[in-house]
């Protein structure tokens, strides 16, 4: 079961890609942290992540966890965004057999999962080919 309260707490990150930037050393954290692991500062400003990047690595899921069975085969990758932040995400709207490291991707707002037929629908980010 997906708790609607947990889903709700992650809305700024999942919907608007809000990250925390350390005001002392400039390191960006996504999701945000309370203490910077670079300089121990507790002062952060909210920044929005870059919406495009490059696929650094990926795997193809053929045996999916519960709730994702209809989507197999699908790709999950690590994308290095143009602001240097690395993010893990599903990569969709592509032929997984033709996906390559180095592909340019952009972010889109998508449905991530549903809590069955009657539960909450969770939205968030996924990546698609940039052109």
């Amino acid at each position: 079961m997906i708790g609607s309260s947990r889903y709700w707490r992650e809305v700024p990150q999942r919907y608007r890609y809000e990250a925390a930037k350390c005001t002392k050393c400039g390191k960006i954290f996504f999701p945000p942290r309370l203490v910077c692991n670079g300089c121990r500062s507790r002062e952060f400003e909210t920044v929005t992540l870059a919406q495009e990047g490059v696929l650094e690595t990926f795997t193809v899921i053929r045996v999916a966890p519960t709730g994702f069975g209809d989507e197999t085969p699908y790709a999950v990758g690590i994308i290095k965004l143009d602001d240097g932040v690395r993010i893990t995400s599903q990569v969709v709207d592509c032929d997984v057999e033709k996906l390559n490291i180095g592909d340019r991707l952009r972010l889109e707002f998508r449905k991530v999962q549903e809590d069955g037929e009657s539960g909450v629908i969770c939205y968030g980010y996924k990546f698609v080919p940039a052109n």
Partner: protein
Amino acid sequence: MDSGIIGYGAYVPRHRIKVEQIARVWGADAPSYKRGLMLREKSVPTPDQDTITMSVEASRHAIRRAGIDAQKIGAIYIGSESHPYAVKPSGTTVAEAIGATPDIHCADFEFACKAGSEGMFVAMSLVEANQMEYALGIGADTSQGAPGDALEYSASAGAAAFVFGKEKRIAECEHTYSFMTDTPDFWRREYQFYPRHAGRFTGEPAYFKHVLSCAKKIMERSGTTAKDFRWAVFHQPNGKFPMRAAKKLGFEKEQVEQGWLSPTLGNTYSGSSPMGLSAILDVASPGDRILMVSYGSGAGSDGFIWKATDRIKEVQGLAPQTREQLENDPIYIDYGTYAKFRGKIRKLAN
């Protein structure tokens, strides 16, 4: 009127199914469907796309063109017959995603295929009445046609969003007019998965009566004729109806072709004429006058007369254009994949 469109955007899913794929499964004659409905293929949403996701993407494009802070948007109205929840608004999710909460008014509209234009009408009216600086009107749908029904060849997915304001307009609104009657040509009852329709009754007494009456009245009231417009867009339940309506009203093919998306997009229901308008705004020049007439079963039509301003050329390239999304790199799928994507197969939960 002092208000008008200051930003617009559309979203088209990448997946497509051709008429031949659907006809083959049901033993129908594809050439006669293609000829009769003037449809070649339609867009298909993936399981992770719905009215909310497409509305967010279209709205982001519209806000980029408007060049405004989303926090200044005072209202979001989404028209759709496929809101993902029966009880929980689509508008709040879209508002949160574009960064427009919490000082905002939201409502979800439903009026078959006309809900998008009514969202536009109400959003623009609130700006006109000085209730707010900006308002967002959206038409979006992931419409369903029952397997084997004629609607299955046309029911598709897409969204268009429009930011309304008084300053930095890209299109002024010169006139509006709406025409409504109680006409039961298409409906879906509570808890029913697929809509029903009254076959040929959806034509003359429904679509044509409302679209033609609305178009004639708005032109009469504004003292215009078809010749005064550079462009026109009508609701597109298929490829044939809007072309026939245009001809009856005295419009030439060149005036309607740019916004005539249905042959390769299908019927995006609440997104239909709004998406056609977005395709026209992509190429419009300053001074171009545009007639837009929507249609929703049940039944009614909203009419708008828009006039492009000098700013139109500045914003056209700021976000993906509608025909570019429609024509670039579509992913074609077979009927089996389509049936899976649209939840038409009974299966165990996984």
